[in-house]
């Protein structure tokens, strides 16, 4: 009798504990929690395979974040953190006043702040600055329905329209491996390769000649 109560209790405690840590991780996770997530990844799924070396000590966990808001079937992986890389962040350093005020100011002074940004992503009927950026809080991005998205997790934003690419990216058929093939899996985030304002790759000359050409000559 006593024993069964004891077992019952411990099962309950275990269930509660498990329920507490797992699901909320994505939202509460911030930079600097890297070590913790590396520990988690170490023991998730790759347990059956142990390699003679470890890449876990080679990755800089402070500069990575764990993906969130993706398909439940996706194995967790890491992407480079965007916050910390942005030189002028937080945007609210300048964006203290409403956007209209700032725009009027630059119209009279002739000085533009984001003069170097050209938006060539989708037709203006589909998309403009505020489709992704939040005029009320420039430190954040937002989804099509208005829920806030952090810069670290901008892939959630891209995935809304580019669903095929998003699925392939989560699996590993789109995008780019960072660092190496061995766990922990680190993938480039969308904006790591694509300029979000002008996402298409540009034409250019190849970086070298093909050998065949020299032989023909």
């Amino acid at each position: 009798m006593k024993l069964s109560t004891l077992i019952g209790c411990s099962v309950l405690i275990a269930a509660l504990a498990g329920g507490n840590c797992a699901p909320h991780h994505g939202e509460e996770e911030e930079q600097g929690h890297g070590e913790h997530l590396l520990e988690q990844l170490k023991h998730s799924g790759h347990d059956s395979l142990r390699y003679a070396f470890s890449r876990f000590d080679q990755v800089d966990s402070a500069k990575l974040v764990r993906i969130s808001g993706v398909a439940a079937s996706t194995e967790a992986f890491l992407v480079p953190a965007r916050l910390g890389e942005m030189k002028m962040f937080p945007c609210s350093n300048c964006h203290r006043q409403p956007l209209e005020t700032l725009q009027q100011g630059s119209a009279t002074s002739g000085k533009k702040s984001h003069w170097d940004i050209e938006l060539a992503h989708a037709p203006a009927t589909t998309m403009q600055c505020a489709t992704c950026h939040t005029p009320d809080d420039m430190n954040l991005l937002h989804s099509l329905t208005g829920s806030p998205i952090e810069f670290n997790h901008s892939y959630q934003l891209c995935g809304q329209c580019h669903a095929t690419q998003f699925k392939d990216w989560q699996g590993g058929a789109h995008g780019k491996q960072v660092g190496g093939w061995a766990p922990p899996r680190v993938s480039q985030t969308c904006t790591g390769c694509h300029n979000p304002h002008k996402p298409a790759f540009e034409k250019r000359l190849p970086s070298r000649l093909n050998t065949e050409m020299l032989k023909v000559k």
């Binding site: 390699y51 080679q58 699996g171 058929a173 660092g179 190496g180 970086s207």
Partner: protein, 355 residues
């Protein structure tokens, strides 16, 4: 070449391979017969060749070989006029000449030849190199996937490969070829391999080829001296010091995956990649075969090959086929993949796919 074939380089027999240390499980933990720890006292190089019992005919043959080959080296190693370094160099080259096929070397012999190679480089250039002998990592079988929808023909991969693998600059040797094909025509005969215009060209797509590291490699089968073989992690490698340069493998490869050094390869010292592997990017000599090794000096420590790292479009995916969670496995399971000349039964570990 004929001389090498007759007197020195022969194909290791199955018995030799299973008895000696080199090839095997690679870990020593599976209980297979693998000599543990380097025994430093064992004979190596010249001594290993001669300090064993042989019949009179074999002895004569070996001695003739040694005399012919070694005359020059002996001259410099015994000369009273040559400097200390010259003499040391002669001695090192002499020992190098008589070393075994890499697969038959014990760990001790491997580290000795690596020491000699590193020292020889130091004598000749004053710079130090690091030649690794890392074996296959357990539980790993390397595989590669190439997205033909993504490649834009930028050739950044080729640049990175040449640099990483110390390929001959004079003959512009390249392991990777990028073929420009007309949309809807996956056809190597009609492909342009010598394009030099802005890419991607309208109405074209790009297909990269290199060594496919076949599971059933025809190149290995035809090698008369056993200088090329498939490692336990699936990488097909070449022992540059055992290769006699007959180019049978080049003829046998259905994929144009192998390259030959027609002349002495040159790499300016300041461009040499000093992090090397015995079976990978160490400097080659004239008359030997070489090819892509999936950057063995990188991949065996968990890194990606240089081409994967350099590709700006993410067209290249590399990983462990034995890991069900790897990206390469996801590609194989979820995308439409194909391999070149599948009907040949070579089983390339290099898949193509499209978005």
């Amino acid at each position: 070449m004929l001389f090498d074939l007759l007197f020195k380089k022969t194909k290791p027999t199955e018995a030799e391979l299973s008895a000696e240390g080199g090839h095997g499980c690679g870990s020593g933990s599976c209980g297979c017969k693998k000599p543990q720890a380097a025994t430093t006292a064992e004979p190596d190089g010249y001594e290993a060749k001669f300090a064993k019992r042989m019949d009179r005919r074999a002895a004569f043959r070996q001695m003739t070989a040694g005399l012919l080959a070694g005359a020059g080296m002996v001259q410099s190693s015994c000369s009273v006029t040559a400097g200390d370094e010259k003499r040391e160099e002669g001695q090192l080259k002499w020992d190098e000449y008589f070393k075994k096929n890499y697969r038959l070397m014990t760990d001790g012999e491997k580290s000795k030849t690596v020491e000699r190679l590193e020292r020889l480089y130091e004598i000749n250039t004053g710079k130090t190199i690091n030649v690794g002998t890392d074996g296959a990592v357990e539980n790993v079988l390397y595989g590669y996937a190439f997205n033909i929808s993504k490649c834009q023909g930028y050739m950044d991969c080729v640049n990175a490969c040449v640099k990483e693998n110390n390929q001959d600059r004079d003959s512009e040797m390249q392991y990777i070829r990028i073929h420009e094909m007309k949309n809807g025509q996956l056809n190597f005969e009609g492909a342009d391999d010598s394009y030099f215009h802005e890419v991607p060209a309208e109405g074209h797509f790009y297909v990269g080829t290199q060594c496919y590291h076949c599971e059933n490699p025809p190149c290995v089968k035809v090698c008369p001296v056993g200088a090329t073989w498939k490692e336990d992690d699936g990488i097909v490698v070449v022992d540059y010091d055992w290769c006699i340069g007959c180019r049978y493998c080049m003829a046998a490869c259905p994929y144009d995956g192998r390259r030959f050094n027609w002349s002495t390869p040159t790499v300016p010292e300041e461009e040499v990649n000093h992090t090397q592997h015995y079976l990978g990017n160490r400097l080659r000599s004239k008359g030997v075969m070489e090819k892509c090794t999936f950057c063995i000096q990188r991949s065996r420590s968990g890194k990606n090959p240089a081409c994967v790292e350099a590709c700006p479009t993410g067209a290249r995916t590399f990983g462990n086929l034995l890991d069900p969670n790897s990206e390469i496995r996801w590609v194989l399971a979820n995308k439409k993949v194909f391999r070149m000349k599948e009907d040949l039964g070579t089983e390339p570990k290099f898949w193509y796919y499209m978005d």
